[in-house]
Symmetry: C2
Subunit: 197 residues, 2 copies
DNA sequence: AATCCTATATATAACAA
DNA sequence: TTTGTTATATATAGGAT
């Protein structure tokens, strides 16, 4: 939408990229909320800004809770399905309508071409995923499992630490400052617009 | 978009609701992907259909990993911000432009009216949140920490299971079947559209 | 249920102030 | 930087098939 079509490629100019993110972020949150309200279902959304700031949306419970809910639903081989079949579908549909404008022969050609492009894209994506993220179902050696185990363990430690820290704080609710918490939230303060109704 | 405006209220007719979900789901996934690609950032999305089926999208890693990333970023008072300030902003903007079409006096009136409506909506939403989700700021962090801890623990179990399985299998690499694994993945097959490239 | 069509509603890219 | 405007691109609701 807008004067020009969007190109599915990373914007290199940092300013434009930031601008783009700002706009799209809001509208995705808006649409997610519409979906949740109108369908009466749960939706959770997590986005990082180009600067690394996190924005989240969740229909009612916390993002974590919705995720746990999802985890419980899929107690199967692959924890949570990931691949973008939806996008494929979408792209195929699009290629279809574009093709119709050109003629029957063009359709076939366009389809084949796009399909091949898609195949390649998917292939690359899958490789990338495998490389960056050793999924549980793909683990083939004990070493890998142990590496991942260790990773999770460190995560667990972090969580427990922050939990402990929080629990420690609970007894001193009246304090204005937390005892020894990293108060590096000044940077994050920009997210909330400070609404005071 | 479409012949009529959307009303921000749950659709009661199950068929329409399902239809609505289908359409919107795809486009939200599409937009999320656009954001991730064009900005080169991570996005994770989790949605439940009216029937309870989970749909997820994640830019590269798994949804879980993106969440972990987000958790690490916000090791602060409130783990992950939740409230929909974005939506407020959005709605306010909208009310503003609509008002301009009517004239200066109308603007003021429209603004005030919408603002009041919004205030009310927010008030209700906040109550709802408090009621459904009694996580007062201080306590909430601990609860979330625990929820997350649980989540990680289940991950850990999965890893350890697969590790154990691997240890058991390594001596019998030539077997085609694992000793006694639950092969209950037939149920999950419905989620993926079964693409076979 | 899926697909196509069409009128509208929305979203937004490029500018402008 | 933010906000407003405008021209276009997209997304869809409701029908038709």
């Amino acid at each position: 939408m807008g004067r020009n079509k969007i190109v599915m490629k990373k914007i290199e100019d940092p300013t434009s990229r930031k601008q783009f993110y700002s706009n799209r972020k809001d509208s995705i949150v808006k649409k997610s909320n519409e979906l949740a309200v109108v369908c009466g279902t749960d939706v959770a959304l997590l986005m990082f800004s180009p600067a690394g700031q996190v924005t989240t949306y969740s229909s009612k419970e916390s993002v974590e809770d919705i995720m746990i809910e999802a985890m419980n639903k899929s107690v199967n081989p692959r924890p949570i399905p990931n691949l973008n079949e939806q996008l494929l579908m979408q792209s195929l549909k699009q290629s279809k309508s574009e093709g119709q404008m050109v003629g029957k022969i063009a359709i076939a050609e366009a389809h084949e071409k796009k399909l091949n492009e898609l195949k390649e894209t998917i292939r690359e994506a899958q490789q990338k995923i495998r490389y960056c993220n050793p999924q549980v179902e793909n683990i083939s050696s004990v070493q890998e499992a142990e590496a991942y185990e260790q990773f999770i363990r460190s995560n667990m430690e972090q969580i427990q630490q922050s939990k402990a820290k929080l629990l420690g704080v609970q007894g001193f609710v009246h304090r204005n400052e937390y005892p020894a918490v990293n108060t590096e939230d000044t940077a994050a303060a920009g997210t909330s617009s400070g609404w005071t109704f």
